[in-house]
Amino acid sequence: VSAQTHGRVRPGGGVRGLRRPALALAIFVSCAAFGVSSASGATSIAAQATVASVPVFAAPNAKRPFRVFANPSADGSPLVFLVRRRVHGWVQVRLPIRPNGSLGWVRTTSVSLALNAYSVTVSLREHRITVWKSGRAITRAPAAVGRSALPTPTGTFYIAELLRQANPAGSYGPYAFGLSAYSTVLYSFGGGPGQIGIHGTNEPRLLGTSASHGCIRVANAVIARLAMMLPLGTPVVITR
């Protein structure tokens, strides 16, 4: 897992506020902690559920789980987490629930782990989405983000689901990624729980502005390309 698990990630794998020796140490420590050998420090681990229900614990060897996730999820997507840390027999994962940034521990017997070279960063100020593979930017595109009253939350999240839309010319475009992030303002929207997504748009003129209700809108061509590329569990780091 890359350095984004220990600090704010900058395009190129750099961690803001750290100088080079500290950065090297942070990458070394995080890679050592996660058992990942990655020269660029940009590889994450996705944990896909292998059982019908996944209990999540507050700590390894806790007596009772504080949450149980169904697999597949309600909309039929396989249940996937982003691994933050590994210890023997357990993985600490980011959870796709409120509050943003929730963490929990899952037994390794409940999931299968897979390396993921992709990551996504979103700069709200620049209205730009960037897709990285092994530390290299492979796609940059303008994005529409939340307006000031309905801001897009910042933090480290991950892609939790991918939905193909029945109407590719609709407001979500042909595809919509559901993130593990939730609006801090809207607790329900259009029948959903205020979940943040990355999706296409039928208003491409608004790309590059702060016009959405919190979601990240990209051009339909971009979302179609990303849908063919990004695995579930891909880290999405949203910064100001």
Partner: protein
């Protein structure tokens, strides 16, 4: 009511007589009630040497200033625990005063307590203790001479690390600061560490008690370590934690599988849009 009218009436005369009595006896009784106590002053030098001087109250007679059992205590934790550092008595031979010195180690501030345990010479019972605070000079020069060496050994499943810490000693002696205690004390006598039986010390010479305070880090925390050593210990702890993480990671099964692009599920999105 005018004073002349007050004098004429019988009730007024009684009131004036009572007021006169209060004026005369009040002046006489007030010092009587607040006296009969021991006073103490204390000072602390850079080298950890503390000095106290206990003095009897300025009573009207020698008997009222005489006490055969006076004890001096000190505290380096602002009065939570007390240690007896001296004992003596007030009599005409020592001029109703005695003094002593003791060592407080590396303590920067001390609190000294003097308390009489015998009745005063005129039969008045002990009143209560008197206190004085003393602080070391602020311009002491610190030289870190390794006088004691403490070894902490932390054992982990994979690594053993040894931290060596040294206790500093302070040298040089600028003029010590002295704080004068209040003249009257109404604090009730405390009963901590006063189980020592009365001594039969003669009047002179004044007692000198030496007490050495050793600051030994307990439970891994070193209260008087210099910042450089604290930083070194923190660095060592960080390296230790990194070593432990590395060892734990080595036990983990290496992930070799690679995630595949997501399979889209047909469904209507209900995201915030």
């Amino acid at each position: 009511m005018h004073l002349r009218a007050l004098r004429r009436s019988f009730g007024g005369r009684r009131l004036l007589a009572f007021a006169g009595l209060v004026a005369v006896f009040g002046v006489w009784f007030v010092p009587m009630a607040s006296a009969h106590n021991a006073l103490v002053t204390a000072s602390l030098a850079c080298n950890g040497s503390a000095k106290f001087t206990a003095t009897a109250w300025a009573g009207p007679s020698a008997a009222s200033r005489t006490n055969t059992d006076v004890r001096v205590f000190d505290s380096t934790d602002n009065g939570s625990t007390w240690t007896q550092v001296g004992t003596g008595q007030f009599n005409q031979a020592n001029g109703f005063t005695f003094s002593g010195t003791f060592s407080v180690g590396s303590a920067k501030t001390i609190r000294v307590r003097v308390q009489e345990f015998a009745n005063w010479g005129d039969g008045v019972k002990p009143v209560g203790p008197d206190y004085a605070n003393a602080s070391g000079p602020s311009n002491c020069t610190t030289t870190t001479t390794p006088t004691t060496t403490t070894t902490h050994t932390t054992t982990t499943p994979t690594t053993t690390t040894t931290h060596t810490t040294t206790t500093p000693t302070t040298t040089t002696t600028p003029p010590a600061t002295t704080t004068t205690p209040p003249t009257t004390t109404t604090t009730p006598p405390t009963t901590t560490t006063t189980t020592t039986p009365p001594t039969t010390t003669t009047a002179s010479p004044p007692p000198v008690t030496t007490r050495t305070t050793t600051t030994t880090p307990a439970g891994g925390s070193a209260p008087f370590l210099p910042p450089a050593q604290v930083a070194a210990a923190k660095r060592a702890a960080g390296v230790l934690a990194a070593t432990r993480r590395k060892a734990a990671a080595a036990k983990l099964k290496k992930v070799t599988a690679h995630a595949k692009p997501a399979s889209a599920v047909a469904g209507s999105a209900h995201f915030t849009g």
